[in-house]
Symmetry: C2
Subunit: 340 residues, 2 copies
DNA sequence: CTGAAAGCGCTAACAC
DNA sequence: GTGTTAGCGCTTTCAG
């Protein structure tokens, strides 16, 4: 820790302190090429003593190699994405790649800016949520010349690779399960997010399959902001006051669903006899509820893992045996709120 | 989109395409210095047409300026940190600084590696959770020569600046409120995380203040892994079977507390008459519960904002009017589970 | 096994 | 307003 002025240490400082050429110091610090154990030791000592931290900026410029993977997601507050992140991290940790997160807040404009910003650091790959992007964003992704994996959704055409579930199908399957269980007076409660394409696709698939069964949604309600749990309570109450005949409510995510469930249990409803419920995502949270909400696993961790694996293989040059389009299949968890 | 080979575009490409010198192109793209409207337009056109994305690596090396702020946190899955992140983002968005997140999983070793990795990109500042770091980490932070803000906690000595709450004090205050309400048979349920220093400090402050009131904890239980809500249920049950005389349970966080609350309500306990409960954090989730859990706000967003503001000011060179040690004061929310 | 030279793509600091 | 010249701190490449 002898560096008392503010100039950051350079390879040259280590070189001088150890009496070894910069080039050899560089080799030691990167574990590249053969270096005698003796010099290696001297270099390591010197580097440690000085507290040298390599400058990756210079390294990246010289080698045109950047071990960063840009991960672009809409939000960190929706539990879904941290879980995808853990899948990504878990896989990348076994390589020398590192995830770097950018958040778009579901805004296409911001997505464009964040993407631009990240690409300007020349990452080795991009993992980005969703298939809907501005034309400029798609152009950037194509032009970047690096592997790009679009995640979460497979209902659309990717720029390069994609890993996810079909939300349209998820909506359809839930609708079928609900009809099969005999429910007919069905309501829907979701987030008011015109830009949450995946929620929208679920909704579309849902109504489509209901229609095929000759059933139409009785009522629907969209909310924005606030605690999802509280909103679930509130909107469930409102909707049931308006339509006491409802015998099922489908929620666009588990948190509002859980709110609805708590409300109904409070009020002494017979769930799932009198009224059935289902959400989407299969969040861990549900395990602690008095009754387990029916849901559908969105394969979050697996999506992250698969996407990371695709990036890692492509960066490593494995061009074969890399599946570029991976559709994962969510399964219905009936829980205790949906009759079989 | 004329770049069909894989070589990324450079300033030179834009320069040639527009017939303007590289230097002037650079000036236009950075909005620096005076450039005539005409050339500016030509450059912008060319850049856009080619789909040029600047290379920040080269830019950073040449200017030795990196607009990145390293944010190092233990986890993204604990709601607390995404909230701190939004505080940070909200403030940094008004500057040209950008947060970059690194996750340590509460492991000092990993913290060290992540820190090293991030510092090697020469960020303009560091925001790091906690005051406890390996000696090597502290040395790196000191040697980096950039503003460093340690967040969440103020019970200790920072390397540079710190923003947070006193967890020891938080624990003490909760203990006092509990005693004042007349509870005497008190249990504690927390996470089994030897490395969660803040939870430990709360626990220490808690037992200390109880002791001062002549009360000792009747029972305690630590868990790890699994759904916090489910664990809260389970451990509450276990503890009450062992000690039916308990009249209060203090939980190390709101999620397990919520699990306990749901369990007790299920079983028909009179909360807070027969038994009182409190958690920590004041998470939004609580708003949707049948009864509002007593808690203590950890000032998460505000911590993020303040830390970001400190970094931003220091980077901008405002050396004055920057408070380097900021203690925020959490307040008790009595909710419906703690008698006054 | 080690070193010297030549850039990587950009910007600071000067010219003009 | 615009261009020129040197690097930034590393790694690549090629000699020894």
């Amino acid at each position: 820790m002898a560096n008392d002025d503010k100039r950051p240490l350079t390879l040259r400082d280590v070189s001088e302190a150890s009496g070894v050429s910069e080039m050899t110091v560089s080799r030691v610090l990167r574990n590249r090429g053969d270096v005698s154990a003796a010099t290696r030791e001297r270099v390591l000592q010197a580097a440690k003593r000085l507290g040298y931290v390599p400058n990756k900026i210079a390294g990246a410029l010289a080698s045109s190699r950047v071990n960063l993977v840009a991960v672009i997601i809409p939000s960190l507050r929706n539990m879904v994405f941290p879980e995808v992140m853990s899948g990504i991290s878990a896989v990348l940790e076994q390589t020398d790649l590192q995830p770097v997160v950018g958040v778009t807040d579901y805004l296409p404009d911001k997505e464009e800016r964040v993407l631009y910003e990240m690409l300007s650091w020349r990452p080795s790959g991009v993992i980005i949520a969703g298939l809907e992007h501005s034309e400029a964003s798609r152009a950037m992704l194509r032009a970047a010349g690096i592997p790009v994996v679009e995640i979460m959704d497979v209902d659309g055409t990717p720029v390069d690779a994609m890993v996810g579930v079909s939300h349209r199908r998820a909506g359809r399957e839930m609708a079928r399960a609900i009809l099969k269980a005999g429910y007919r007076q069905i309501g829907f409660i979701g987030t008011k997010m015109p830009l949450d394409y995946r929620a929208r696709k679920r909704f579309e698939g849902f109504t489509e399959a209901l229609a095929k069964g000759g059933v139409e949604i009785v009522d629907q309600e969209f909310y924005s902001g606030g605690s999802a749990l509280a909103k679930g309570r509130e909107l469930t109450k409102v909707m049931l006051e308006r339509h006491p005949e409802l015998d099922f409510i489908y929620y666009s995510n588990d948190m509002i669903g859980a709110g609805g469930l708590l409300y109904l249990l409070d009020k002494g409803y017979d769930v799932p006899g009198q009224i059935g419920l289902a959400g989407f995502n299969g969040v861990e949270l549900l395990d602690g509820l008095p009754r387990k909400l029916a849901s559908m696993d969105a394969c979050r961790v697996e999506i992250g893992e698969t996407a990371a694996r695709i990036i890692a293989s492509r960066v490593a040059g494995d061009t074969e045996d890399v599946q570029n389009i991976v559709e994962l299949t969510p399964t219905i968890a009936y829980g205790d709120t949906l009759k079989r």
